[in-house]
């Protein structure tokens, strides 16, 4: 398999910010971050020491212009396959290196090379196309909300779920599976916010605040997904967006 060296070079240049440069150069591979990682705690192997995860990225920069497909595959498997980007290791690193941020950058390189793992890539594709990663339509969403509101009103007659109400204090957003698979979750959210007397609204066009672009390291896609919610929130002039649980 071949790859486009120009895209790689451009992406690496884009990613080479102040922190990336600093962190790649000061990591001393002292290994104290190992205590921070649940991969290491469960299975203590060299590949599970967090600082190992930044090596493929470091190698890419060291061997700029002479990168091989094999190096990119290693980078993909290490950075997608052995990290949840939970940032726990940063709390153990004496230098405070943001290893998750570096893994994110490394995933970004893989994503730009079209190497995003397929499950993540197709979820992301859905999210970009439908506004949520489970491909729920707007009609479906509105129906589900109405259905759960009716259920809730049996218990709380005054309960409401205002749609697209400008000037509300909060915009309430969800994980798409709250709508598609677990409408009971939606019921619980509406119950909590109604019971607490929170001034909230829902948005018909941007109700999914999860961001697979962030996981994939794909900043252009992540920006577009965040952009949906941001545009809706700003149009509704809310003070705050309540993110998915």
């Amino acid at each position: 398999m071949n790859f486009d060296a120009d895209i790689l070079d451009r992406t690496m240049k884009e990613k080479a910010g102040a922190r990336l440069e600093m962190w790649l150069s000061i990591c001393s591979r002292c290994g104290m971050c190992a205590e921070g990682c649940h991969y290491y705690a469960s299975d203590p192997r060299p590949e599970h020491v967090p600082s190992y995860r930044i090596k493929p990225l470091l190698d890419l920069y060291r061997r700029r212009g002479k990168v091989t497909m094999e190096m990119l595959e290693t980078l993909r498997d290490v950075c997608y396959g052995t990290c949840t980007m939970c940032q726990r290791c940063t709390m153990y690193c004496p230098h405070g290196i943001g290893i998750a941020a570096l893994v994110h950058a490394a995933r970004g390189v893989a994503a730009a090379m079209g190497m995003t793992p397929s499950g993540l890539a197709s979820g992301l594709q859905n999210a970009l196309e439908f506004g949520n990663n489970l491909a729920v339509t707007e009609e479906n969403f509105v129906d589900t909300v109405e259905w759960q509101l009716e259920e809730l009103q049996q218990e709380m007659p005054d309960a409401e779920a205002p749609m697209d109400r400008e000037g509300a204090e909060y915009l309430l957003t969800f994980h798409p599976r709250d709508i598609k698979f677990y409408p009971q979750n939606l019921y619980n959210y509406l119950k909590l916010y109604n019971a607490a007397g929170v001034d909230f609204t829902l948005s018909t066009r941007a109700w999914d605040s999860t961001n697979l672009g962030l996981f994939a390291g794909d900043v252009p896609a992540a920006s577009r997904l965040a952009g949906n919610v941001i545009a809706a929130a700003e149009a509704l002039k809310v003070r705050a967006v309540i993110t998915a649980e």
Binding site: T82, T84, L192, A195, L212, F215, A226, A233, A240
Partner: protein
């Protein structure tokens, strides 16, 4: 949370016209101001809490989460380590959508499984959908006898509607 709260301004190179709020904050505010009425001691089952990286380590909701738990649970048990230093549920960073790496993911959940087992809790409350799946898989793979419930469900059950 992380995307909208911290990353988006950097991606878009502008400030946003609103702030991103974790749900826990809104619930804890409601509890503190007395607007959200919860039945004290409603839950008696031994319970522990999975500190999600999104809301605890990345949004600083440790204190708020414990205030809410204390309001409704009579037998709350901390994992060790807990709070900002807790182990990841194992399912973060999109691990739920990458079957090719599932074996490694499950292997890495051992640490968390032992933490949960050690509490002796029969219920794990989770505040994040990724954690929900992660803890579910953890308990299943390592035969930890505990149920999993979303924080919203756990609190919604305990809402005191009569007093409202």
């Amino acid at each position: 949370m992380k995307a909208l709260g911290f990353e988006a301004p950097l991606w878009l190179k502008r400030t946003l016209g609103f702030e991103a709020t974790p749900p826990i904050k809104v619930w804890a505010d409601g509890l503190a101001t007395g607007r959200l009425k919860l039945k004290k001691g409603f839950h008696t089952v031994p319970v522990t809490f999975q500190d999600s990286c999104n809301f605890i380590r990345n949004a600083g909701m440790y204190r708020q989460s414990r205030q809410l738990m204390a309001a409704v649970a009579t037998d709350f048990r901390e994992m060790h380590p807990a709070g900002n230093a807790t182990y990841c549920c194992g399912n973060g960073g999109g691990q739920g959508l990458m079957p090719e790496y599932k074996k490694r993911k499950i292997a890495a959940m051992k640490a968390k499984a032992e933490c949960i087992r050690a509490t002796g809790a029969s219920l794990v409350v989770v505040a994040c959908h990724n954690c929900e799946d992660g803890i579910q898989e953890t308990c299943k793979a390592y035969e930890v006898d505990a149920k999993i419930e979303l924080f919203s469900a756990y609190l919604a059950e305990a809402i005191d509607l009569d007093e409202a």
